[in-house]
């Protein structure tokens, strides 16, 4: 790995980005115009801060970029952090955005029969195989996981498997697909994350950004 002069902030693409950007602005960071241009092919964007660039990658990749030190700072949900469980990542600030929960859902016809505490084995489709396995293992349940990358809600109706573990925010997608939430695995919100070696080798700079983000989060 080459030492980079610039700090890199990794932001997640998609839904969460709209919620995170106001905080990024409040922390004093304004991305260049290309960042907002959907036609731009750029992947790395300059900001009003000379020593800070932004990259926009998939949420799962934010954690990977930061864990490997390719990005110094990042924003990612704790669902991703729990799934990877990287040891070289600090998550100093809960940004209080991207709030949702990771839940187990089943077809509503069988929802009433479900008593998760009596299971010895569960078969689920999910985007979070490690997190799901670990959650159930801690409860003495062996989870047989089918990894899917999206459209989890289709799995029960097409007979792939009856249960899914997926992100739920309002629950309307579940409802539209005839599913019911029966158990919450964990509550989720987005965190500011920091690469551990970067924190140790550039303590003043990194702590400065942590403080700015901390103050950008509206107090409860």
């Amino acid at each position: 790995m080459k030492p980079t002069e610039k700090l890199i902030l990794a932001l997640p693409k998609g839904r969460i980005l709209d919620e995170v950007l106001p905080l990024v602005n409040k922390a004093g960071i304004e991305p260049e115009a290309d960042f907002f241009d959907p036609k731009s092919r750029k992947l790395q964007f300059a900001t009003n801060i000379g020593g800070l660039d932004i990259i926009r990658v998939r949420a799962f990749d934010v954690a990977t970029f930061v864990a490997f030190g390719a990005a110094h700072l990042g924003v990612v949900g704790n669902d991703v952090l729990m799934e990877y469980n990287y040891s070289d990542i600090y998550s100093p600030v809960d940004l209080q955005v991207g709030k949702c929960r990771l839940s187990l859902a089943v077809p509503k016809e069988i929802a009433g029969e479900q008593d998760p505490s009596s299971w010895s084995h569960v078969r689920v489709a999910t985007k979070y195989p490690n997190l799901t396995r670990k959650y159930y293992a801690e409860r003495g349940v062996q989870a047989e996981v089918i990894k899917l990358n999206g459209a989890m809600e289709l799995a029960p109706s097409l007979g792939l498997c009856r249960r899914i573990v997926d992100l739920v925010s309002t629950g309307s997608t579940l409802k539209a697909n005839g599913l019911k939430e029966v158990e919450i695995l964990t509550e989720i919100s987005s965190k500011l994350i920091v690469n551990r070696p970067a924190f140790k080798t550039q303590p003043e700079e990194i702590s400065g950004w942590i403080d700015r983000f901390k103050h950008a989060v509206p107090s409860q």
Binding site: M1, K2, P3, T4, A67, F68, G69, Y84, Y86, S87, D88, Y90, S91, P92, V93, D94, K191, V194, P197, F199, K200, T201, Q202, P203, E204, S207, I210, K214
Partner: protein, 391 residues
């Protein structure tokens, strides 16, 4: 017969070349560079009066897993010893072996005992960030002394050795792993609360400490925030005026920070009193060395309790480094200078050149174009009628 020329356009090596994940071949110039770096480190350790010892590659499983070795169980390769039918472990960490030697064969040797070591270790799996499964570990242990001077010596030695090996812009991060536990004791936290506090401290997540009230929240938050450049962070930590064991540990850390500013004024020192992750077996001050642009730390060490032969414990301090990490912090080595000697160069002449320090590559057959042949064999120079010329 295959000649050298034919090999240049050989078929792809195919799966014969495939190695298990995390294992690799070291080619030139890296293999030599790694060995040279080990020599430089070991020479620095020797200059501080540390004697080199070499334990075997494998030992009885239960010996390797005793004392601080407990944590190594999930990382360790095991084989069955056909002779004794006992399970042997391949070492995944040499410090356990050094502690064993100190407690057994060397128990009657005068303390403090200063030992150094270097050798390969293997692990069942690498980490996500560092998938390597075999690497060289080098380090020192000072056993039988609990004074601050011992930790200070180990830190100074670590820095001197790394600087000698060519690492620049070192950062030294000091930790006090037992502090959080001591504070939790004095606050009377239960097991579940300790777990929450530990997780919050490990993640540097101040918000997660909100579940605590009053003094607990105040103290834990202050510890978490007292990180960064040693001077300022130490002031924050001292303002807490912790009492008892925690207070003593903070005082010791303060003395260390002062001592380091005198001994190693050029090294950037940070402290991180809330960090315990990876320092679980440290019984006092711990430290990790970082260099900019290198993923992960270069080495770590600190104070711990070495398990004695009779089940008792001996105070010890040590430091160990992984060579693959250091190599990443160093400039890429260049190929050494080699001189191609045409077929007719006499043995006396080639000996003379070697004595001058040149590396010679002797032609084994007559060749027409010696300069071209020198290039083909990756020589930097060739011997052209009594003169060394670049190719």
């Amino acid at each position: 017969m295959t000649t050298g020329m034919d090999k240049q356009s050989g078929a792809p090596p195919g799966d014969k070349a495939l190695l298990p994940s995390g294992l690799r071949d070291q080619l030139a110039p890296f293999a030599e560079f790694e060995a040279e770096t080990v020599s430089k480190l070991m020479a620095a350790f020797a200059r501080f009066g540390y004697d080199r010892v070499t334990p075997p590659l494998m030992e009885f499983e239960e010996t390797l897993l005793s004392g601080t070795g407990k944590q190594n169980s999930p990382k360790m390769f095991r084989v069955m010893d056909p002779d004794t039918q006992r399970v042997l472990g391949l070492r995944s960490d040499m410090t356990v072996q050094i502690a064993r030697m100190a407690a057994t064969r060397m128990q009657d040797i005068a303390r403090p005992l200063r030992l150094s070591y270097a050798g390969n270790v293997v692990r069942v799996r690498g980490s996500q960030v560092r998938p390597t499964r075999q690497f060289i570990q080098a380090g020192v242990e000072i056993i039988g002394c609990d004074s601050l001077a011992a930790e200070l010596e180990v830190i100074c030695l670590a820095v001197e050795a790394l600087v000698d090996a060519g690492v620049v812009d070192l950062t030294l991060d000091l930790t006090v792993a037992p502090l959080a536990g001591m504070v939790a004791d004095s606050l009377g936290l239960d097991a579940a609360q300790r777990e929450i506090a530990k997780k919050a401290l490990d993640a540097k997540d101040v918000g997660a400490l909100d579940v605590f009230g009053g003094t607990a929240k105040e103290i834990l938050t202050a510890i978490l925030l007292a990180t960064g450049i040693a001077g300022a962070a130490m002031e924050k930590l001292e303002m807490l005026s912790l009492s008892g064991a925690a207070g003593q540990l903070v005082a010791r850390l303060g003395m260390m920070v002062d001592a380091l500013s005198t001994c190693l004024p050029k090294v950037k020192v940070t402290i991180d009193p809330g960090e315990s992750h990876g320092f679980e077996y440290k019984s006092g001050i711990g430290f990790a060395v970082f260099a900019p642009g290198v993923r992960g730390e270069l080495g770590r060490g600190g104070r711990y309790m070495a398990r004695g032969n009779d089940g008792g414990e001996e105070p010890a301090a040590g430091f160990s480094i992984y060579l693959d990490s250091i190599i990443r912090a160093l400039p890429i080595p260049s190929m050494p200078m080699k001189i191609f000697l045409p077929f007719d160069v006499s043995h006396q002449m080639s000996e003379k050149l070697r004595k001058k320090g040149y590396r010679t590559v002797q032609a084994l057959t007559e060749v027409v174009d010696c300069r071209h042949e020198a290039q083909r064999l990756h020589c930097s120079h060739w011997f052209n009628s009594d003169k060394v010329e670049p190719v």
